[in-house]
């Protein structure tokens, strides 16, 4: 039986009488007999306690107590309890998209604050109210660049996450978009390669900072190059790193996107996450996704509404800047609470702490025979390590000891089987790091 149904048998009878019907099935007469389900074989219902026990059993089949040195764009950061507690309030959780601004100012103002925080973090002029995730956000940015420039050639830097690259490839399979890729290297973006590919057909150069291999870069020169050819620069960023790293806005990047998971969202086996996008105000009308804007009510009081809706599918339909409707609003509010709580100093401390722990780890591991730490470029909290054997094996062996040592690059780059990337967040304590190093040394000796 469904415990969430309000109608009692008496209610049903009353309503049927009003409808002049004898049974509820009469309401389904438009569905012909032959259209009835051929089968509908599903679990019997359970009580709340029974479901909770079953799912807790499933939870027990996951190893959630491993010490994580794995990142790849998704990081094990601490989430302040206030964030989780505020975001779970029913008034945020069970509201729909704020179509009726008068009774949705809570969601609207919080999203406006999110947009402003993203702009502050990236030094951009305008941000939207969220996209699905970091990968789809980068794809949306590319489509936006194509709309803006009217060009159809994309230069993809070798440092961009292979996951994002795969997503972009699948979405554009059917579209006439030409992709040029610069070789994959562990260091910073190779200027000459980009230079070679750039021309008047180029819509955008897609970059990432820190890149997938951890290298930190300053794209100012690439931006200049790109603009000389009337193309745009798109950069995907790791938001936590911007507490310490030069901002895309400062580099002159045109469209910034990123994965917002690190801003107070749990890893959650891959979602819900948070795609964000920020750009210059002049491109606002070409931007996908909802935008919350400020205005005044009839008494002249400041208030907030969904704005520039003419870009969106529910008005523009096939001509919309994107098909997105449901986005990641709650995750955006969660990120806004996280950023507000940390404040400027908290955000900087957090970034510095990540940087320092990673540096400490880098230095510690460098001493281990068989482990070569790539130093071709400065890094933030993730870096590339070369091992004297298959990284998959090493990672597998380390998990037995309770550590996820990193992500083997061979997974996406067959030629790099002996490489892995390692992430070190603020949660990793000195003693965890030293223990980890000890175990790794043992493993490398076997």
């Amino acid at each position: 039986m469904n415990p969430y149904i309000a109608n009692t048998d008496a209610d049903v009878q009353k309503m049927l009488e009003v409808l002049g019907m004898s049974c509820v099935d009469d309401l389904f007469l438009d569905i012909k007999k032959e259209h009835a389900p051929r089968s509908f074989d599903l679990p019997e219902g359970y009580s709340e306690y029974e479901v909770v026990s079953r799912i807790n059993q499933l939870a027990g089949k996951n190893s959630s107590n491993l010490v994580l040195f794995i990142g790849g764009g998704y990081y094990d950061h601490y989430i302040p309890a206030a964030v989780s507690s505020l975001i779970s309030r029913g008034e945020f959780l069970t509201a729909y998209t704020p179509y009726q601004p008068e009774c949705s100012q809570g969601t609207l103002q919080a999203l406006y604050e999110f947009q402003s925080l993203i702009c502050a973090l990236t030094d951009m002029e305008i941000a939207n109210a969220s996209l699905y995730d970091g990968g789809t956000a980068l794809y949306e940015a590319m489509m936006m660049a194509i709309r803006i420039t009217g060009r159809h050639r994309i230069i993809m830097d070798g440092g961009v996450s292979p996951i994002y690259r795969k997503i972009i490839r699948s979405y554009t399979n059917n579209l006439d978009i030409e992709f040029l890729e610069t070789p994959v290297i562990h260091g910073q973006s190779c200027r000459p390669d980009i230079q070679k590919l750039l021309d008047e057909k180029t819509a955008a150069v897609i970059l990432q900072n820190p890149n997938f291999f951890g290298a930190v870069d300053d794209f100012s020169d690439i931006v200049a190059m790109t603009h000389r050819h009337g193309a745009l620069t798109i950069s995907s960023v790791y938001p936590v790193s911007l507490g310490l790293l030069k901002t895309p806005g400062d580099m002159g990047v045109d469209i910034v996107t990123g994965e917002g998971q690190s801003l107070g969202l749990p890893l959650n086996f891959g979602g819900p996450y948070l795609g964000f996008m920020a750009t210059r105000k002049k491109y606002a009308r070409k931007m996908p996704g909802r935008i919350v804007g400020q205005t005044v009510d009839r008494q002249g009081r400041r208030c907030f509404v969904n704005t520039l809706q003419a870009r969106e599918q529910h008005i523009r339909r096939e001509k919309a800047t994107s098909n997105i409707c449901t986005n990641e609003a709650l995750c955006a509010i969660q990120a806004a609470i996280f950023m507000s709580l940390l404040g400027p100093e908290g955000m900087k401390d957090l970034a510095r702490l990540n940087f320092e722990k990673a540096e400490f780890t880098r230095q510690t591991l460098a001493r281990i025979p068989g482990v070569e730490v790539k130093k071709s470029a400065p890094t933030f909290n993730e870096f590339t390590v070369r091992l004297d054997r298959d990284a998959h094996e090493v990672v597998e062996a380390m998990i037995q000891k309770g550590f996820v040592a990193g992500f083997p690059l061979g997974r996406y780059y067959p030629e790099m089987n002996d490489y892995m990337i390692m992430a070190v967040t603020e949660k990793r304590t000195r003693s965890e790091i030293l223990q980890f190093a000890k175990h790794l040394e043992d493993v490398m000796q076997d």
């Binding site: 209610d11 969601t107 523009r316 449901t326």
Partner: protein
């Protein structure tokens, strides 16, 4: 209300990260370092808690108000699904774990959730396979259309068009276009269904697919569905099912049994995951056997030994459509919901959501005419056009309802209905609540006659009155740091 930025006091801290327990290392070269200010708010944790608690109280929500927003299925979101989704066994799982060699062993519980859900949704909808990856309904549409494109490409079909009724949700044409198709819009006939003659007229070899919402956005079930499917299949076109309205059909009719080839389901509607003020959602996609090879990777498979793992070896797959395996946290809530309701509970869901919608329509159509006066399924669409005489619009009724403590229905959608009011009570609401709502609409309509200005002045009870939407678009202030001037 003040913005969090306006509560800033220099030097205030809301959260302190741990002190470093490692020796200060080599610093980052200045060239790569942030030099620009970071104007985040400087507030205490208490400021932050008060701010967002007070903001939350400015929302209407299912937890606080009746929310009959048509097409959005604002049903009750059970609390236990929330606490389960917050349980550490899942929230702390890194998504790359199962991509390590043997890594699936560390995420068997999570993989089983995905695997079971695919099977259950397959059975619920009558399809042959599902992917849980799409992150919302529209994302599912795009995925589905990409699968359709891959199918035609593989068969060497030259396809150009996707046919969509004019009653469709905006995401349908948008998704079709983004995937590279042209859309043909078919008008709605006087039954409220797709006009068959015009459809036939447009049907040709270049038609890749027909996208239908069923029941459609008027809440009506199309009994020609098999005829339409036949027409499309004749030209080797495919039938796409927009599952936003599946709440009406659970155990009553399975899209897979009536000719649909591709389907997306909105877990945040039919399966009770909360909407969160706009998201996150989940829009899993199901397909018939002929389309299975094109499903996105990764796919969750089970070995003979019972172990679940991720499989990427599908050469014809459309590839990655999201970073990982779907909005897992959302999927887990729907998983718990289905397990609790079970077969019988799911079927009751549709019976009662349809009963409630018909009761609403019946009681209201004497006041506001139904767009298509016949029994509906899970939602009904009325028209406030008769009130235009008094220069009263659907939006005025909506704002009056807010003052009466109801979230308004969806208005001005579907676009084909003048002054549309689309009401979806869901199975969770009670007759008394609906009667109160009906009574409020009656009052609104009589006010429209007696004292229309009273409606124009609504709402009065909310923190703000009607906003100037034009100004928002004209002046575009979407970033506090670009719009400080406009403070009040």
């Amino acid at each position: 209300m003040e913005l969090i930025f306006e509560k800033t006091v220099a030097g205030r801290r809301g959260f302190r990260v741990s002190k470093s327990d490692v020796d200060a290392p080599t610093a980052l070269p200045l060239k790569y370092s942030r030099t620009s200010p970071l104007p985040f708010p400087e507030v205490t944790e208490l400021d932050c808690v008060r701010h967002y608690t007070q903001l939350s109280q400015m929302n209407f929500s299912v937890d606080t108000h009746f929310y009959p927003l048509g097409s959005c299925t604002m049903k009750y979101n059970p609390r236990f699904t929330e606490s389960l989704a917050a349980s550490t066994g899942f929230v702390d799982l890194h998504p790359l774990l199962p991509q390590l060699r043997q890594g699936e062993r560390y995420t068997q519980g999570a993989l089983q959730v995905l695997y079971d859900m695919e099977r259950w949704l397959t059975e619920i909808t009558g399809m042959d396979a599902f992917t849980m990856q799409p992150l919302a309904g529209a994302h599912g549409e795009l995925t589905g259309v990409m699968i359709i494109a891959a199918y035609h490409k593989a068969k060497g079909n030259k396809k150009k068009y996707i046919i969509i009724p004019d009653s469709a949700h905006g995401t349908n044409p948008a998704s079709a276009a983004i995937a590279g198709f042209e859309t043909l819009s078919i008008p709605t006939d006087d039954r409220g269904l797709m006009d068959m003659d015009i459809l036939k007229a447009h049907m040709n070899e270049e038609v890749a697919a027909v996208m239908l919402t069923c029941p459609n956005t008027l809440g009506l079930f199309n009994s020609d569905i098999d005829k339409i499917a036949a027409l499309v299949h004749d030209v080797d076109g495919l039938m796409y099912y927009d599952g936003a309205n599946l709440n009406a059909l659970l155990g009553k009719c399975r899209p897979g049994d009536v000719g649909f080839d591709v389907i997306h389901v909105n877990l945040h509607k039919t399966f009770s995951a909360p909407h969160g003020g706009g998201g996150p959602g989940a829009g899993p996609v199901g397909v018939k056997a002929s389309l299975v090879p094109y499903l996105p990777v990764s796919r969750v498979v089970q070995n003979k030994d019972g172990i679940f793992h991720l499989d990427y070896r599908y050469p014809q797959s459309i590839g990655y459509i999201a970073s990982f395996y779907g909005n897992f946290g959302v999927i887990l809530k729907a998983y718990a919901y289905i397990l609790l309701l079970g077969k019988a509970g799911l079927m009751e869901t549709s019976s009662h959501s349809v009963l409630n919608a018909n009761y609403m329509q019946h009681q209201l159509q004497s006041i506001l005419p139904a767009a298509y006066p016949r029994s509906c399924l899970h939602e009904c669409v009325l028209s406030a056009k008769d009130l235009l005489a008094q220069d009263v619009h659907a939006i005025d009724i909506a704002k009056y309802l807010i003052d009466q403590g109801f979230h308004p229905p969806t208005i001005y959608f579907p676009l084909i209905v003048k002054e549309a009011m689309m009401i979806e009570p869901t199975e969770c609401e009670s007759k008394e609540m609906m009667d109160r709502f009906i009574h409020a609409v009656e009052n609104a309509v009589s006010l429209a006659a007696s004292h229309p200005q009273a409606l124009k002045d609504c709402p009065q009870t909310t923190p703000i009155s009607r906003p100037d939407e034009g100004k928002a678009a004209r002046e575009l202030k979407a970033n506090f740091f670009n719009s400080c001037d406009a403070k009040t």
